[in-house]
């Protein structure tokens, strides 16, 4: 009954907008988070590799680890996070109203979401693109053969819009069957209500694992959109924006410098000035962020560098086995790039 909870939350968050303005002006998020003692992070209702609770209620995923990184930077403790599962439909309202401190829920960074929703994307922790999954026995080689197909989709996503654009430009007919909850959409596809299921390619691999017979399904090669996924925060709080953004960059810089979860303590003694600045050995780069000097050390110690997070959740070390592709470091053929800490 996650959908119930989400609907209830949406109602509450709209109600929160009616409350007096002083309650959550949003310009002091870092202070508020420190006061209450934990971070409130909007997460997916269940997407393998990005945000998924296991049977003991422990959340795992790339998006989840970013939240844990922020919590580690602030409190030195990656467990001080409260995850609020949100449907695609409710996520932005929850962030706008101050119900959550940050949204790390494979949300696509778009112009209108920043220009009209009052949000800011703090970075891109996964460069994605939209694809289609179909049954192997349909014997299709390309998404261009999907004319006339019924396609299951989660409503309120850029996915829904990209699909409409794709079929419109190609002059093909299709039927969109939209569900509020991702699990309902996947279930409908699995039961045969739809010929194809569409979402971001990473999500397709994650959803495939949840199907009754994952081996009977394939992901078509076409990627029909740019989907830069990343954490979002409210506008008007530059300090908090910086905390989230630099948590992400610290993880990328750590990978680039070869700092890992296991060697971070030895690296403290590294003679490399870049490593020393990152881990707090030289200068105090945390101060301007409102964080302690060893903020980046805490992040890497808690969740590891970007490459480790990727491998553990979606890469070779996970059941998803997604290749780094665009998400490799800029120095290794990808486009993940972080400004230097100095």
């Amino acid at each position: 009954m996650k959908a119930f909870a989400a609907t209830f939350l949406a109602a509450v968050t709209i109600g929160a907008l009616l409350a007096p303005a002083q309650a959550q002006t949003g310009s002091k998020t870092l202070e508020l988070v420190k006061q209450k003692g934990f971070l409130t992070c909007g997460s997916n209702t269940g997407l393998a590799g990005f945000g998924l609770p296991d049977d003991k209620g422990n959340w795992t995923g790339v998006d989840v680890d970013l939240c844990r990184g922020v919590a580690a930077a602030i409190f030195g403790d990656p467990t001080k996070v409260k995850f609020i599962p949100l449907t695609a439909k409710d996520r932005f309202t929850a962030l706008q109203s101050g119900e959550i401190d940050m949204l790390s829920r494979n949300g696509t960074w778009t112009q209108s979401r920043e220009a009209e929703l009052g949000l800011l994307w703090a970075g891109v922790n996964y460069f994605d693109g939209q694809g289609f999954m179909i049954r192997k026995k349909l014997n299709l080689a390309s998404a261009l053969e999907l004319s006339g197909a019924s396609i299951c989709v989660q409503q309120g996503t850029t996915t829904e819009l990209n699909m409409a654009d794709f079929f419109r430009t190609k002059g093909m007919k299709y039927e969109a069957v939209a569900f509020a909850d991702i699990n309902e959409a996947v279930k409908a596809y699995d039961s045969g209500r739809c010929d194809a299921y569409t979402t971001d390619a990473s999500g397709l691999y994650g959803s495939r694992l949840k199907l009754v017979n994952p081996d009977e399904h394939v992901v078509l090669p076409e990627i029909i959109s740019k989907e830069p996924l990343g954490p979002a925060v409210r506008q008007g709080d530059d300090q908090w924006f910086n905390v989230v953004r630099w948590t992400h960059y610290a993880m990328i810089n750590a990978e680039e410098l070869g700092v890992t979860k296991s060697n971070v303590d030895e690296q403290l003694k590294s003679p490399n000035p870049e490593v020393r600045r990152l881990l707090g050995g030289e200068g105090d780069f945390g101060k301007g962020l409102g964080l302690p000097k060893d903020w980046a050390y805490r992040i890497v110690k808690a969740v590891g560098n970007y490459g480790e997070v990727f491998n553990r959740n979606v890469g070779e070390g996970s059941p998803l086995k997604i290749k780094r592709g665009l998400n490799a470091l800029w120095s290794q053929g990808g486009i993940q790039y972080a400004p230097p800490v100095r």
Binding site: A149, Q155, V177, E184, G192
Partner: protein, 394 residues
């Protein structure tokens, strides 16, 4: 109060006058409620401005660029958000209107069945009512959708029901009627048939009142309503053909398709609400004193005539007000469509449109206003009907 009386009354302070006090209390109450409402609006718009959330309705005319799989009006991804609103509204009205009609028939049938002399019929009706009424509607909807409709075969293995009708997990595919030029005459004949039948019924009633002679209204009406258009249909050279759906690619093309989401929602709403209506009907019938039935039977009326002419007209007075509530419930419950993917108002407008535009407060306000208007209009119609059926006291 006349002037003469006013002179006789002792002078009292207006503060001690109950009428004046009443106005003061009510005035204060209105001020408090108005103040709270105003504060809420001001707070919301300030908060939204601070957070950079749009507060206007400019989104209404923007291009929606998403698709909807069931639309009663012209709609494409190039249409506006405003158009999407109307698509959702019509889909809500469609399922509600059909649901209200079907659930009324089923509810009355089961309500009467519960009072049947036949033990098995009465107990079956009782089990129906108890099971359907005491389980959550959402579970029932998910049951109809997941357990009953989705296991249907895929389009290539469709179940053929003959006459170009197919059933598969994409829904029920029906042939689409195509009207040839002469079809207008058939329609005219059908309208004329209904009018003539009504006229004949009026004539027959007067005849019965004057002479006591009973005319076969049922048979004559049937002949006029069905026979007349059928005759014209044959004479006009059968101006109707069917565009039978053909399996092409993924699914049938051509024909008319009824979505499984629509069927599941309609089934769930009708069966659930009928259980409540059945109890209302039973209560209404039981509220008519047994002496009335006995008197009618003693006068020589048949059981059917007794139910139709004596019991039901009196029972209706008890039935109509709570029946109105059930109609409103059904309409409001149709918003559960969102859980099974039927594109109703809540799914399309308060779902996708809200999310794509970010105009949460405006969209929710409009949606709530729409349900309020639908409910008030339904209540108004039912109240007019109730007034006509109510006991006229002289």
């Amino acid at each position: 109060m006349s002037d003469a009386q006013a002179h006789l009354q002792p002078r009292v302070s207006p503060l001690n006058n109950p009428a004046v006090r009443g106005y003061i209390y009510q005035g204060v109450l209105i001020l408090i409620v108005g103040f709270l409402g105003w504060e809420a609006i001001v707070n919301a718009s300030t908060n939204m401005r601070v957070r950079g959330i749009p507060t206007d309705f400019a989104f209404w005319d923007r291009v929606a660029s998403f698709d909807i799989n069931q639309s009663l009006i012209e709609y494409t991804a190039a249409s506006t958000y405003g158009r999407a609103f109307w698509v959702g509204l019509w889909n809500t009205l469609l399922v509600s209107a059909l649901g209200v009609v079907l659930t009324t028939f089923l509810g009355f049938f089961i309500g009467v069945a519960r009072l049947s002399q036949n033990f098995v019929v009465a107990k079956l009706a009782m089990i129906y009512v108890e099971v359907l009424r005491n389980t959550p509607l959402l579970l029932q909807l998910l049951f109809w959708y997941n357990a009953v409709l989705k296991p249907l075969p895929n389009p290539r293995d469709s179940i053929s029901l003959g006459a170009g009708i197919y059933l598969n997990n994409r829904g029920l595919v029906l042939p689409e009627p195509q009207f040839a030029p002469g079809a207008g005459f058939v329609l005219a004949a059908a309208v004329a048939g209904v009018l003539l039948a009504l006229g004949f019924r009026f004539f027959a009633r007067r005849r019965q009142a004057q002479t006591g002679q009973i005319l076969p209204v049922g048979w004559v009406s049937l002949g006029l309503v069905v026979g007349l258009p059928a005759l014209v249909f044959v004479l006009a050279g059968a101006p109707l053909s069917f565009n039978v759906a053909l399996l092409r690619g993924f699914n049938f093309s051509g024909g008319v398709r009824v979505l499984p989401e629509f069927v599941a929602l309609l089934l769930g709403l009708v069966l659930y609400t009928a259980a409540f209506i059945a109890e209302i009907v039973r209560a209404g019938i039981l509220s008519v004193q047994h002496g009335q039935t006995e008197a009618a039977l003693a006068l020589g009326l048949t059981r059917a005539q007794t139910l139709k002419l004596v019991t039901m007209p009196q029972a209706m007075r008890v039935i109509i007000p709570p029946l109105t509530n059930q109609y409103l419930n059904l309409t409001k419950n149709s918003s559960l469509a969102v859980f099974i993917g039927y594109p109703d108002l809540v799914q399309v407008f308060a779902g996708t449109v809200l999310n794509q535009t970010g105009a949460a407060v405006q969209v929710i306000a409009i949606t709530m206003a729409v349900y309020l208007v639908i409910s008030l209009v339904t209540a108004l119609i039912m109240n007019i009907y109730n007034r006509r059926k109510a006991l006229v006291e002289r």
